[in-house]
């Protein structure tokens, strides 16, 4: 069946071009020329847009037009699997095929070697595919187009993790390619129940966002919730997973992160196995993991790769570091300004001696030092690595020695600030480190006005806030409050691996059991 040939007027064309972004239904014309015109106009004759005309079957010529964006396609695939095939097989074209299906079958089954071939119904889809790196095939006289997957272009490969370094464990990290990322996870969980659902978010960017979860472990309510929240997003662009995070998180005005992110495929895999949901975003190596609980941010995937005693120790250390990073300057201020009687005499004398001649009150002194340190840290991140060492010299000399020798700050304060800094670098998660940095200043202000009592009030408010948070319906402080006894095995204390036989209660409510085998006992029996 020959499809209706309908010529469009110039006005109609213009209309389509104007409305393309809104109208999904703008159809592909049967006329190649008309299509060409529309596509070119739409892309503003961009120079990286390439089209190629091929004439198939000389006896009964069929005009075929290929479109692709230069930088987005993989040239090898394009040349070998697509162009090669089409150009080499003109004689084979069977003049008998007339219908669209015939043509599709022909292309699909006999001509084109690329991994997939999809039929395109309208212009919107066409652009979406074209701009994702597919090559579009248009055929004269047909109102459907075909997209072949020739996606490629520059890629970093699978890089080493940069933000969440560990000693023991896999080194590979996510990349900017969503396909690669999902693949890295799939390679770890070879289970048919690992389901992936794709979304396309962002009016302009058309970013591919995928959620992945293990069916049967995941809490279906949470999947539904995530699905709803993702579908509800209306925004023009998604440039990084941070956009998604901010758009779907529960506590919009909380300093605490309610969504975890990681660069590590193994962390994602572990999360999925606990019943969490991963959200991959194309163009970002940071993959989101929901629901995220407060204690997750104090845990590292490495904990599980080591013996449980080491893991426990490290976790306790991190918990300690959390308080240290948040409270040290505040505690110092409270002690020196309000509670001198609580300091042992010898220490107090030492502190008093250092404070002699310091022009600022302890609070101001702490504020100056903390702000300087934050500046230094920020500068260190931005600077190219070649000048990075300069910053550390300036920091060490200016902050450490010169300031003390000049009598502007006391050396105890330098110790306090360094301690805070070291402690804030301990967290495996950068989000929490930032949170702590913000809260630290609040606590300092409270300590400066009400001493330990102020810190205490701050703590209570903090806890009130923390327990009121939820991450996708799960109370943020689970399993501490509400207290879940069985889940305590994997919070601050990390139980031995063979005893961690259940998944976290609230996150995954079905298929709780991890392993039925009590490993060491089974081994004992063998002997």
């Amino acid at each position: 069946m020959r499809l209706r040939s309908k010529k469009r007027t110039a006005e109609e064309k213009q209309k389509i071009i104007e409305n393309i972004s809104i109208s999904d239904q703008a159809e592909i014309s049967t006329s190649l020329r008309e299509n060409d015109e529309i596509i070119r106009k739409m892309l503003g004759n961009s120079d990286d847009f390439i089209s190629r005309k091929i004439l198939l079957n000389k006896q009964q010529p069929i005009q075929v037009q290929l479109y692709y964006i230069d930088a987005l396609v993989d040239k090898d695939t394009l040349q070998n699997d697509l162009l090669g095939c089409i150009l080499n097989l003109p004689s084979k074209v069977d003049p008998s095929w007339k219908t669209e299906k015939d043509l599709y079958d022909f292309l699909q089954n006999e001509t084109i070697n690329t991994s997939d071939l999809t039929k395109i119904e309208n212009l919107k889809e066409l652009f979406s595919n074209l701009l994702s790196g597919d090559t579009i095939i248009l055929i004269e006289g047909y109102s459907k187009a075909f997209a072949t997957n020739t996606r490629g272009g520059q890629d970093r490969g699978v890089p080493e993790v940069t933000t969440q370094k560990i000693i023991r464990g896999p080194k590979e990290g996510f990349t900017e390619r969503i396909g690669t990322n999902i693949g890295l996870v799939r390679r770890r969980i070879k289970d048919p129940n690992l389901w992936v659902k794709k979304y396309c978010i962002g009016e302009k960017t058309q970013t591919e966002v995928s959620i992945a979860y293990i069916n049967g472990i995941v809490n279906d309510d949470i999947v539904k919730e995530v699905d709803q929240r993702l579908s509800r997003i209306e925004i023009d662009s998604i440039l990084e997973s941070g956009y998604i995070e901010q758009l779907i998180q529960d506590a919009k005005y909380s300093p605490f992160p309610t969504i975890n992110n990681t660069e590590r495929p193994d962390t994602i895999a572990a999360g999925l196995l606990e019943g969490r949901i991963a959200i991959f975003v194309d163009g970002s190596p940071f993959t989101l993991l929901v629901p995220a609980l407060f204690t997750d941010f104090l845990q590292s995937s490495e904990d599980y790769y080591q013996r449980s005693d080491i893991g426990t120790l490290l976790r306790l250390l991190r918990t300690f570091a959390f308080f240290l990073a948040m409270m040290t300057p505040a505690g110092y201020i409270a002690l020196t300004m309000f509670h001198q009687e609580m300091v042992p005499t010898t220490l107090l004398v030492g502190l008093a001696a250092q404070r002699e001649g310091i022009p600022f009150p302890a609070f101001i002194e702490a504020l100056i030092m903390e702000i300087t340190f934050e500046l230094l840290r920020e500068a260190g991140v931005r600077l190219p690595s070649s000048v990075g060492s300069a910053i550390s010299i300036v920091g060490a000399l200016v902050l450490g020695q010169a300031a003390v020798e000049a009598g502007i700050v006391s050396s105890a304060m330098v110790i306090v600030v360094s301690l805070t800094a070291i402690a804030s670098f301990v967290f495996p998660s950068y989000n929490l480190a930032i949170t702590v940095r913000i809260l630290r200043f609040g606590f300092m202000a409270l300590a400066a006005s009400f001493g330990f009592f102020g810190i205490f009030i701050g703590l209570i408010l903090l806890v009130f806030h923390l327990v009121s948070l939820r991450s996708f319906g799960i109370p943020y402080t689970t399993p501490l409050a509400p207290f879940i006894a069985v889940d305590q095995k994997d919070v601050f204390v990390q139980s031995v691996l063979w005893k961690e036989r259940t998944r976290p209660r609230l996150i995954s409510q079905k298929n709780i059991t991890r392993s039925k085998l009590n490993l060491p006992e089974a081994q004992k029996k063998k002997r």
């Binding site: 009400f450 009592f453 327990v467 009121s468 409050a481």
Partner: protein, 359 residues
């Protein structure tokens, strides 16, 4: 949406509510009456307290979904019920601002010398306001977070002063002052278990009523045990005279700790235990007041009245009590009578009417 708390959270609230204020005042109070037998006074007070809790528990049947106020209304009728609720509400109000006042006094005297109590009270009431507006669920969970720290502090405190305990100080056991030891039970119960009446306003929020009743009982028991230990430690370490003379004898107890020359002066521990417990007590009482007013006024949301209540509490706490001696007098006279009326007679009456109605 009705907020629910777990039986465990309810247990913690009971624990905190019994210990709040009590932990600071009980050693002095009990010892004033019972001398060497002060701790025995607390033992008996705990036993009686558990009886009181049993009465409280009896008010709620197994499958109860009604709140305390509805039960009162149903049994006493609308008018009498409203008057009883008002009576209980005023009691809670009284307790709350007295507690606020004592926090202001204590902090102003021991922690922040020179800071006006008004500022401290304001800070506390505002923090409580935040908690109450979040609702009972958040209060319950927050108490869950703080419980381990409270218990650890308590254990540390008692463990650290233990080496300095002189068992001589508690002798003779029940030989002299026996009458005093028993008379002391009433004021001790008055500022501990009878104030638990406010928790009855919360109990229907627990997702499992039979377990909540158990939690009520165990909470009272554990808190009573803590009070006994603390009173015992006070008498054994600083002696009867010292315990009676110091207004905050447990704080003084903390000052006695000295381990390894460095780990000393940890009375902060005491302050911490006390703050936490009294804080949750104020929160629960505040919540009780709010939901009682909500019930009386037929309001939709208790949150609408929280800010005015906070304001009134603040003003009352700042202006009502002239000094610490007055507080002590009050605690042993008017307040005691009020506590017995609300915390004991009202529930008993309620129970009698309930049983009579059933028949």
């Amino acid at each position: 949406m009705d907020q629910k708390i777990s039986a465990y959270q309810f247990f913690i609230l009971v624990f905190m509510n019994t210990l709040g204020t009590a932990i600071l005042f009980i050693p002095t109070h009990a010892t004033t009456y019972g001398k060497e037998n002060g701790w025995i006074t607390v033992v008996f007070a705990t036993i009686f307290g558990l009886l009181v809790i049993a009465v409280y528990n009896a008010i709620f049947s197994k499958e109860e979904t009604r709140s305390l106020f509805v039960i009162i209304d149903d049994n006493f009728g609308k008018w009498l019920g409203s008057i009883s609720i008002l009576f209980a509400l005023l009691f809670a109000y009284f307790t709350t601002f007295a507690n606020l006042w004592s926090i202001g006094q204590f902090v102003g005297l021991h922690i922040l010398m020179g800071t006006p109590p008004e500022a401290i009270v304001l800070l506390v009431i505002l923090t409580c306001l935040v908690g109450v507006r979040y609702g009972i669920e958040v209060i319950g969970r927050a108490s869950e977070i703080f419980l381990p720290f409270t218990l650890i502090s308590l254990i540390l405190l008692v463990g650290l002063v233990w080496p300095e305990a002189q068992l001589d100080n508690i002798q003779p056991i029940l030989q002299t002052n026996v009458a005093g030891a028993f008379v002391g039970i009433i004021p001790v119960i008055g500022i501990t278990f009878l104030e638990l009446f406010c928790l009855l306003g919360v109990i229907h929020r627990v997702n499992n009523i039979p377990q909540a009743k158990k939690a009520f009982f165990i909470g009272g028991l554990v808190a009573g045990f803590c009070m006994i230990i603390v009173t015992f430690a006070c008498i054994a370490v600083i002696g009867v005279d010292g315990t009676i003379r110091h207004i905050y004898s447990i704080y003084f107890l903390g000052q006695n700790i000295s381990i390894a020359e460095f780990f000393e002066r940890v009375e902060g521990l005491v302050a911490f235990i006390w703050f936490i417990t009294i804080f949750f007590k104020i929160c629960t009482n505040f919540y009780f007041i709010a939901i009682a007013i909500k019930h009386l006024g037929g309001l939709k949301d208790f949150r609408t009245v929280t800010i005015p209540i906070a304001y009134f509490l603040f003003v009352s706490a700042v202006t009502s009590l002239p000094n610490i001696f007055y507080d002590f007098e009050l605690m042993n006279s008017t307040y005691l009578v009020y506590a017995i009326l609300t915390g004991f007679l009202l529930p008993i009456l309620l129970l009698i009417v309930k049983i009579a109605r059933k028949k």
